[in-house]
Symmetry: C2
Subunit: 240 residues, 2 copies
Amino acid sequence: MLSSNQRKLITQLSKKKYRISNKLFVVEGKKVVNELIASSWPFQNLFTTEDNFHPDAEKLSLEEMKKITHFKTPSPVLGVFILPEVQKLLVEPITIALDGVSDPGNLGTIIRLCDWFGLSELICSKTTVDCYNPKVIQASMGSITRVRCYYVEDLGVTLTALQKPIYGATAKGDSIYTAKLPKEATYIFGSESHGISAYLSNHLNGELAIPQFRKGSSMAESLNVANASAIFLSELFRSS
Amino acid sequence: MLSSNQRKLITQLSKKKYRISNKLFVVEGKKVVNELIASSWPFQNLFTTEDNFHPDAEKLSLEEMKKITHFKTPSPVLGVFILPEVQKLLVEPITIALDGVSDPGNLGTIIRLCDWFGLSELICSKTTVDCYNPKVIQASMGSITRVRCYYVEDLGVTLTALQKPIYGATAKGDSIYTAKLPKEATYIFGSESHGISAYLSNHLNGELAIPQFRKGSSMAESLNVANASAIFLSELFRSS
């Protein structure tokens, strides 16, 4: 049985300000909740409509679950997890940074990509969607347990302090297929609608692009940012 | 001023069966509607909340637009376009086929990817989400005007008839970074949750995989299907 306070809190946790003030976030879906538990991520509550999901889980009716889900269709499992403390930067040889990526699905799949290619950190501008947004968590498919998003006030200052060359993914850059892609460097991807901000552009040591193969007067303007990141990461790691 | 019949029809067009019975589909967003008009795609109606969008556009109030949009937030432009007749297969050297991709955002960005790499056709199983779904159109960002989705009853039969080797993207396949990737071949991507169907697996001449770079006991199970397609397409075209 869900108390009205619990219900109110869980509903509020769809918003970043309540996640921060309560130091909690919500994860839905059996697979992702299980991954967080397996990674020893501390939780406050587990709710389930199933029997025998977890000894600490509270059983809810489907009606109760519908009242707290952040999605149109509830999952059989919802967990309230503790927001981690901000830690120090890890600084791996290859750093991926995001400047204003706003779509939760894009951030989630970029986290999943970083995980696939063995990266454990993603540096994000404050203008990038919060990684504890329920849709980001869902799209990350558990990779949030292995890839930490590190949010910074000023990407230009933080990335310059890493003392590695900084490359931006832009429409007009050199082809990633022919340019040298250093294995100790930072690669930045910009927002879905505006690309890399004008301010951050001044901090770049170079610009790189995925060349377009269609010829003609009518062609695509850009690739989806997660797909562009996928191609960059593949190109960076394929020969390493 | 919108008639109640128009309103009812546009709302119904969110469903595939009404798109087919009316031979119409809805496109929202100025950029995508403009791309369809520029490609001479025939339309039945254009609606806009703006002045001077197009000589044939009917002006609507924001309130009226809110009643017909298929999204949470209406765009300033909504067009009702004519569903094209099914044409013959184009058969390009490289064929991309989708077996049960169900997420509209994934199909939309895969269409955008095919466009980027110069492909004009995507062969889809009947179990793949309809390409005239409003969310697919939106995610394709106008690439639907250059990449046609060809839906087939039986992917196994259609792809075998192309008389090219058929490769499936699977978790256990050979690394795309070391395997030979023929430039005349079909590459299949399976559904988000189940991969390539057991039936279609019997038609494969080979299996290919994107190797995972993270080492350890805990790792990602898979990549998002659109990101996997991005990496495959990049690998296929990078040296062509």
